[in-house]
């Protein structure tokens, strides 16, 4: 698992990258009540706002962690947004991306570096 400073996790699955938010992020957001997912087959650039996530407290965005194409989204989150709090690093993945070169993941944080970030 790799991590971004925006509290996203990335997991390689075959030739795709699965993206979600960390336990820390889910706790900070509080109870998630609404998730708006991107369209599949959308080309995105690093930093694009691709997901809207609303908790009881506020709206937040999930940013595209890499350049690439959104090839799958987790529709389960639309019906059960609470899954984000229940299983943020498992069942509550947000989207899958296809990227040109998986080696760019090497630049992201590993688990120890992320743990240092959130202290």
């Amino acid at each position: 698992m790799k991590y971004t400073k925006d509290h996203e996790w990335l997991r390689v699955e075959g030739d795709l990258v699965v993206v979600g938010i960390t336990e820390h992020a889910a706790t900070q957001l509080g109870d998630v009540v609404f998730v708006e997912l991107p369209e599949v087959e959308t080309m995105v650039t690093t930093g694009d706002e691709v997901v809207v996530i609303e908790s009881v407290k506020a709206a937040s965005d999930i940013l595209a962690p890499l350049d690439g194409e959104i090839v799958d989204v987790n529709q389960k989150l639309v019906d059960s947004p609470a899954l984000v709090n229940e299983d943020p690093t498992g069942a509550a993945w947000f989207f899958k991306m296809r990227i040109d070169d998986l080696s760019v993941l090497d630049d992201l944080m590993d688990e120890d570096e992320y743990a240092d970030l959130i202290g």
Partner: protein
């Protein structure tokens, strides 16, 4: 250093795992480990303990007699103060000369004086306003007192274990138990109490309440979602110096006796505009709104009729009780009928909402 003031219960909030944020100049717990949703539902089902010590508690003693002071206060608010019975309290608003709202408040008649409880962010300005305009009052800001709210269907059972006699109080009754001042009121739509207590005693008192079955600490997050469900306006958001009480849907608080034809009609700040609105109607009104989709629409969202902006959401969020988003905002009168379909500009996308009745969730007072 945050430069924020600390509540007398600060250490207890931290010990309970409260997440502390700045609010109205104070370090306040926005939520505890239970979370906003859990705290909200707990309050509706059992009893929630809120620390609202940031609010202003102003004692107003008459320099002469209390009847004279009541009439003096009526010059600053469009409510019936003179007719307020001893040991009863009433909701009111301080108005400005153009009929806007300086603050909303509770005023309690306590035999030989009044207690006025005001919003934290306005308390210094309110005190100055009262000081400047009242002719026969001695005012004191009770900075040595904390304020707790215990709200929910199990509030009475819990509080009665410490203060026997609270069970006999009805909604909006006030009583003094030694150093402790109690009113049967709140800001959640539930039955419950607001309890003023010296700073030096509040920690022990709060701990004994929290030790009781069914009582949990509740943060500002759930306080906001509870009051939103109850359809209550939040000062600085849903009401302010530009909104009149009639536009804000608070005409119910303007006593008959202060209206045209009443025994003490008018004579309050902003009376010209407010009385005219009561007789000829308003051009805009605060309404409840239910988004069709599950996306919450929050403060600042522009309301649309087609592409034309017609108003703005002043409060909005997610209702844990309804399991759906809810909002409030101002709309021109012709859009205010229940069921009217409009849209909100949500991140650039017109998103449908329908006008609905307030409150979103029925109140549960002990009358």
């Amino acid at each position: 250093m945050s430069g924020l003031l600390r509540l007398p219960l600060h250490d207890l909030h931290v010990e309970l795992g409260g997440k502390i944020v700045g609010f109205a100049g104070y370090d306040m717990p926005v939520q505890y480990p239970l979370g906003v949703m859990g705290e909200h539902l707990h309050t509706r089902a059992k009893a929630g303990l809120f620390d609202v010590s940031h609010m202003g508690q102003i004692l107003a003693y008459p320099t002469g007699n209390i009847e004279e002071l009541a009439l003096d206060l009526e010059r600053l608010m469009p409510i019936d103060v003179a007719g307020l019975a001893p040991w009863r309290q009433r909701y009111g608003v301080l108005t400005n000369d153009t009929g806007g709202i300086l603050d909303d408040l509770m005023i309690a008649h306590r035999g030989d004086h009044f207690l006025i409880v005001v919003n934290a962010a306005c308390k210094a300005a309110d005190f100055d306003h009262l000081q400047a305009h009242l002719r026969c009052a001695n005012l004191t800001m009770c900075s040595d007192r904390a304020l707790l709210a215990l709200q929910g269907p199990q509030a009475e059972a819990a509080l009665a274990q410490i203060l026997r006699g609270v069970g006999a109080m009805r909604f909006m009754d006030v009583r003094i138990f030694g150093d402790i001042w109690v009113s049967r009121s709140g800001y959640t739509g539930e039955d419950g109490f607001e309890i003023s207590i010296p700073n030096t005693q509040v920690a022990v008192f709060a701990r004994s309440l929290l030790a009781m079955q069914g009582v949990a600490p509740i943060g500002l997050g759930a306080r906001d979602s509870l009051r939103l469900e109850a359809g209550m306006p939040l000062y600085g958001h849903d009401i302010d110096q530009t909104t009149s009480p009639v536009e804000a849907g608070l005409a119910w608080a303007i006593s008959k006796t202060r209206r045209a034809g009443g025994a003490r009609a008018g004579g309050f700040a902003g009376a010209a505009r407010i009385l005219a609105q009561l007789s000829s109607g308003v051009s805009r009104l605060r309404v409840g709104l239910r988004p069709d989709s599950r996306a919450p629409m929050r403060e600042g969202v522009v309301l649309l009729d087609g592409n034309a902006p017609i108003g703005r959401i002043t409060s909005g969020g997610f209702s844990p009780t309804l399991n759906a988003p809810i909002s409030m905002g101002y709309l021109p009168l012709k859009f205010t009928e229940i069921g009217t379909l409009i849209a909100g500009d949500l991140r650039g996308k017109p998103t449908p909402l329908r006008v609905c009745a307030l409150p979103f969730h029925p109140t549960n007072y002990k009358r």
